[in-house]
Symmetry: C2
Subunit: 438 residues, 2 copies
């Protein structure tokens, strides 16, 4: 291997993922060289503070605080600093200098991806970001390459491990949200400030990236409707469970032909009911999975670890070896195909099935009055089930009505729920949740 | 798009998959051109008999019986004829002529892949075959590219839809093998002569391909130990079910450090017990899935349709667009990295857990005598459970002993079973099955 080329790799950031990437670059240097066709030489690691303690012991001479100089001398740049600046400027410097860039920075991509993609195209270099969505799971490359001859119609993703862990805990133990969150924090699955996860912002950034690649267009975070899991109650979960469903926080991107809003793509994140037989329903704990429906391929699912230093490092290194192979072959890169702008649709234009729980008076004619309101608003009922709770003397304590609708628009559903609330026979509306996979 | 390049695509074979590929090439020409950066012009379809009725209506002037001439004039060749010859010679002609080749021919790849890969490397063209394993599921590209910076340690695949359908039927309805097979044939999931599927030959060819890519080496069908599902009984299934397992036909490729046989790769296909919580256990009907364990990425699973004209066409077209993109960029292809020869291990060198069902006499000391034999042969018992069946007068009718072992070698297990059979307290050995995923 004496005439093998040397490629300089600059690493920006040395947190959880960065430290593992550095370790693997050093420990597995020979295997990576054999697979790349070039030696991948870690030329330096840019950090804010050299003396910060790291998870992994790494040669001190590799560290520098001068990211700019490091980037200018690199063939390949790995950006794992997170945040918008200076990550954005450093990536642009790298790209304009002809370096290929690997990043896991979903926030940056969701906010300003189009600028970065265009600059990379202009410079003829690769910008890859498999680590930005669903950690270790190879999902972006299959969408970009393997499904390039197909038409994706819908993507449903469990792309945030923290919220999946919390919802799974609630489902398994019957815990309330606050208790499940505390448990997730205790086990290291949730951060001290869990806002970005539980409010769905992290999933929304990933939804924007998934939607852009799947539909050959460019969506930003602003195009994503976002609803977190903080309002999901133990009783929502119990009630869904009894009806054969599990509640998951899904990132959804789907093609919609809407008579009112025109056709386009709906991109959204919200708690969603899934039938227990759906492949995504079996995704437990902090695992991630992405379920894809394509015109020809049909249903596909990709499952694995969505976070963690070592798993995410696997995705970073896959991108790095692929970029190195391209450099060795001499061909310019082409990171994605964008064939045009497709309209992102407002959440009102999306249609889903709904699950509605009602606490009703046990009177004759109640069901008929409720059914009438649904019909009036154009919302078709698929399943309606009434459960009567009695006390020990067989007197009726309460009556519970559970309704699963056929696909309906957000607007029609909202109008239906408003009208139902106005009925004197309704004590309360206990759940309104979206259903997928039926 | 006036200055867009034109690439000539020759299609060899027009069966189930080929007809769908032709249809999509014609119907989706504009979208495929946008994604490839070149127009993919279907220049002809080579068939044995032009007048054979097809699933799809296609322009008659595209058909030819002269495959050789068609191939010589093509930039991209899609081989979907199946069988060894003339497919092999035509692929070699294409490659030597500088055309990129896409094939779904698993039998040819498993038998003579190395010759084809070498010729493609020599000519600097791409030879891709995503459609050869697990139909529509993007699995080969993720292994080759996304996991190129990781080390795969084990692959477990449900890669044959027919056998998965049959085993799922047996599991769901309690049917015997013969009845489940008849049902599969009636529904079109099994062929009139089901040998290649039920004896595991189809899965074995896919195992050879998966193992080669996963371990950067070259295995052929001869390196794969193969056992089909024809001997799996309804009582095996029932007994596994009661113990919390499901039986699947798995294609397994794993790295083994064996003190006796040296380290190497074990590649095998056999009926296997999986715990019901394992992600592969939820793969129902004719669906396929591949479960991968990698050092850094951890556990990954890829799920989807493993057969069918349209789904498999999706994989063919993904390969075609990727190959076209490379041609447009001008870079030569590099289809896989083979970094050396790794020893394939005989099945005796592999270790798995085993499930053993015994019909025993209900006598004091039976368990101890059996446990002693296991210990003598170095097979460690994980779970041992005895069930006593009594008739209506509470007299013992029979006693059933179920044993799950820790990982043991095939040789040690075989010796153990032989010794157990010799005990006078054993009425019969009812099941000996391998277990994975524990």
């Amino acid at each position: 291997m004496s005439e093998v080329r040397n490629l300089k790799v600059a690493l920006l950031g040395c947190g959880n993922v960065g430290a593992q990437v550095a370790r693997i670059l050093i420990d597995d240097a020979d295997a990576l060289a054999a697979r790349s066709g070039a030696r991948l030489e870690l030329s330096g690691i840019a950090v804010r503070n050299i003396d910060t303690p790291r998870d992994v012991e790494l040669p001190r001479e590799l560290f520098t605080t001068d990211a700019e100089t490091l980037v200018k001398d690199a063939d390949l740049v790995i950006e794992l600093m997170g945040g918008i600046e200076p990550a954005r400027s450093l990536i642009l410097t790298a790209v304009r200098n002809g370096a290929c860039v690997v990043t896991g920075n979903k926030a940056l991509l969701a906010q300003d991806g189009p600028t970065l993609y265009e600059e990379a195209d202009k410079a003829g270099v690769q910008l890859s970001y498999e680590a930005a969505v669903a950690g270790a799971i190879p999902i972006l490359r299959p969408i970009r390459d393997s499904l390039s001859g197909d038409r994706i119609t819908r993507v449903l993703g469990i792309v945030n491990g923290t919220t999946n862990f919390i919802l799974d805990q609630m489902d398994t133990t019957g815990a309330q949200f606050a208790d499940a969150l505390a448990e997730a924090q205790r086990l290291g699955y949730a951060e001290a400030d869990p806002t970005a996860d539980v409010e769905g912002h992290d999933a929304a950034a990933k939804a924007a990236i998934l939607a852009s690649l799947s539909f050959h267009t460019r969506f930003s975070l602003d195009d994503v409707y976002c609803e977190g899991i903080t309002k999901v109650t133990a009783s929502d979960i119990a009630s869904a469970k009894e009806a054969g469903f599990v509640i998951k926080l899904l990132a959804i991107a789907e093609k919609i032909e809407s008579p009112d809003n025109g056709s386009g793509i709906s991109v959204r994140v919200h708690p969603t009911l899934l039938p227990r037989e759906h492949p995504l329903a079996a995704v437990r704990g902090a695992f991630n999975a992405v379920f894809i429906e394509a015109e020809n391929a049909g249903e596909l699912m990709f499952y694995g670890q969505g976070a963690g230093g070592t798993p995410t490092a696997s995705a970073v290194l896959g991108d790095l070896v692929s970029a190195a192979r391209r450099l060795v072959l001499g061909g310019p890169g082409r990171t994605e195909t964008t064939t045009g702008y497709v309209q992102p649709l407002p959440v009102e234009a999306s249609t889903t099935s709904y699950y509605i729980g009602l606490d009703v008076a046990d009177q004759p004619g109640v069901l008929a009055r409720i059914a009438h309101i649904f019909a009036e608003n154009g919302v078709s009922i698929e399943i309606m089930r009434q459960t009567i709770h009695r006390d020990s003397s067989s007197a009726v304590e309460s009556a519970e009505l559970k309704i699963v609708t056929h696909r309906a628009s957000e607007a029609a559903l909202a109008a239906t729920v408003e009208a139902v609330k106005g009925l004197d026979v309704i004590n309360s509306v206990t759940s309104v949740l979206r259903v997928e996979g039926v």
